[in-house]
């Protein structure tokens, strides 16, 4: 018998596949296509204290093997999330992560205070959205900025605290170590890479903000390397993210050291891609006689496995 369960910071996921923030809304649209209870977890659209309209102009632009997005954290705000979305999500028999962004430390802290009082399973602290000043990426570049926000949030946060890292961090390993020192219970990485595109006919950037966030299989080799480096350096659970499109990609992240993985852009290619990945992982485990994911977690670098 194989067992796909993972326990992350005391929270048990039935399998390691989590729908990534911003690509899955609050699950409602996908619930039309499959029972969300199949998922290990769902990370909510990035939330800010107050509702946000998001960015103007073009928000999506396809690139080779991926896409640039500049959504700008359009979201209904924490209160509206808590009253209208969270109850739906919690009914789905899957783990729910609240992905929290913000502009100031106070804003983050207030959001967390309100989430403390709910039955949310985990917080995913987004210090890495490149698309809005208030997305927190300012906190995600230099380790010392991250230290400040994570340690403040930690003081307030009563839920397991996952910090979501930006691949644009100056030094991803140092960033990871700093966040753990500041109190993170786990880390998820990566968010989108800062990228851009130019419309050569209008001679101007495609996006109003010029810079947008790159995701999809194009970034996978870099994301995998970062997950590998971070897993080796810190002792908390790691959630691997970046260009995961099939079970093979997922297994690569787990072998690099990830405890669980998130699927983002892949959902756009097929709304039931997460089911294929879950099934693929199970079949792989059966064929390879792997009983639990622990057996292969970090297997490429861990000694005595």
């Amino acid at each position: 018998m194989i067992n796909t369960k993972v326990n992350i910071c005391g929270v048990e996921l039935k399998n390691p596949v989590i729908a990534a923030s911003g690509t899955f809304g609050f699950g409602r649209e996908y619930a039309e296509y499959f029972p969300l209870s199949k998922l290990g977890g769902i990370s909510s659209k990035g939330l800010t204290l107050n509702r946000k309209e998001g960015n103007k102009g073009i928000r999506i632009y396809e690139t080779t093997g991926g896409l640039l997005n500049s959504i700008g954290l359009q979201n209904p705000g924490i209160d509206e999330f808590i009253s209208n979305q969270l109850p739906f999500m919690k009914k789905q028999d899957t783990i729910v992560l609240a992905n929290v962004g913000g502009g100031t430390i106070e804003e983050y802290v207030t959001s967390i205070e309100r989430l403390n009082k709910t039955n949310i399973d985990m917080i995913e602290l987004n210090i890495s959205c490149p698309n809005v000043k208030e997305g927190g990426m300012a906190f995600g570049i230099r380790s010392k900025d991250a230290y400040e926000i994570v340690s403040e949030v930690r003081k307030t946060c009563k839920k397991p605290l996952i910090v979501k890292l930006s691949p644009n961090a100056e030094n991803i390993v140092h960033m990871a170590e700093t966040c753990v020192k500041a109190g993170a219970d786990g880390l998820s990485l990566v968010n989108t890479f800062s990228g851009m595109a130019i419309d050569i006919y209008s001679k101007s950037p495609v996006f109003e903000n010029t810079i947008a966030g790159l995701s999809g299989p194009c970034i996978k080799p870099i994301a995998l390397r970062m997950v590998y480096e971070v897993s080796k350096a810190v002792d908390v659970p790691i959630i691997g993210i970046g260009g995961i499109m099939d079970y093979k990609d997922a297994i690569e992240f787990i072998m690099a050291g990830a405890w669980a993985i998130q699927v983002g852009s892949g959902n756009f290619i097929n709304p039931t891609i997460t089911l294929d990945i879950i099934e693929g992982i199970e079949t792989f485990m059966v064929n390879q006689r792997i009983k639990s994911l622990e057996e292969i977690r970090g297997i490429i670098w861990r000694e005595n496995i």
Partner: protein, 251 residues
């Protein structure tokens, strides 16, 4: 539960004008379960390739449904539509849908339909499904297509071409008098839509099918939003058909 991507089998994929193709797909699998294949104004996300370049599927409107055959009409613009144009009878193509809200078929009164270029696609199916009296105004750049079929369904058909090769020379918006209609349905290039709305303002309600770049197509990513009086609305889920009173154009 809705079915996610299904395979369609290509029945025909015919070039009907310069850069314009008519694609007929046979749907067997999921119609067996009696699901609705879609109403006018709804669309499908199409993937005619297995690889990850192009990455995203392409939204294409339903141009007709007959038995288990869906017809799409598409213009080859970039690499996605180029790949689709190379497919031949028997090839398969993945499709997700029907998606979006579609046109409201229950509205009463005399209808004016205004199309520009390939914007005609959803309006062809609309002209078939409407019980109202309909006049159809279609503008083309040069070559005219599909008007023979539409002509039989509507009271009056007006054609314009930018080069004057057929019908009125100029824009289709120069042809029609909003006072003659109780409602207007339109689809086409943004400048045309804006112009139709301008002409109809305070005279007759306009429902327009909007375009936007899409990623998920089902309302989850917020990539396709447009500004409306109700806030940022998703073209793929809240639209693609919007009342002109809702849409806020940026300029």
């Amino acid at each position: 539960m809705k079915r996610a991507y299904n395979k369609g089998i290509i029945h025909s994929n015919t070039k009907i004008s310069h850069n314009i193709f008519e694609l007929k797909l046979e749907i067997d699998l999921w119609n067996r379960f009696g699901e609705d294949l879609g109403i006018p104004g709804q669309f499908y996300m199409l993937r005619g390739w297995e690889a990850k370049d192009p990455f995203l599927p392409r939204p294409i409107s339903i141009a007709n449904i007959e038995d288990n055959i869906i017809t799409f009409l598409y213009e080859v613009r970039g690499k996605g539509t180029h790949i689709i144009s190379k497919l031949v009878k028997g090839d398969t193509l993945e499709l997700l849908g029907p998606l979006g809200n579609g046109f409201d078929l229950k509205l009463k009164g005399k209808v004016g339909i205004v199309s520009g270029g390939i914007g005609i696609a959803p309006l062809i199916y609309l002209s078939k499904k409407l019980d109202n009296n309909v006049d159809f105004y279609c503008g083309f750049r040069d070559e005219v297509y599909y008007t023979d079929i539409i002509e039989k369904r509507v009271d009056r058909l007006f054609i314009s071409t930018e080069d004057g090769s057929q019908g009125h020379k100029g824009f289709v918006t120069e042809l029609f008098d909003p006072h003659r209609y109780d409602l207007i349905f339109t689809c086409g290039p943004l400048p045309m839509i804006k112009n139709v709305i301008k002409i109809c303002r305070d005279i007759v309600p306009v429902y327009c099918s909007m375009e936007s770049r899409m990623a998920c197509g089902i309302g989850a990513c917020l990539g396709c939003t447009i500004k409306t009086t109700k806030g940022m609305e998703r073209v793929c889920k809240d639209g693609p058909v919007f009342s002109s009173r809702e849409v806020i154009f940026s300029d």
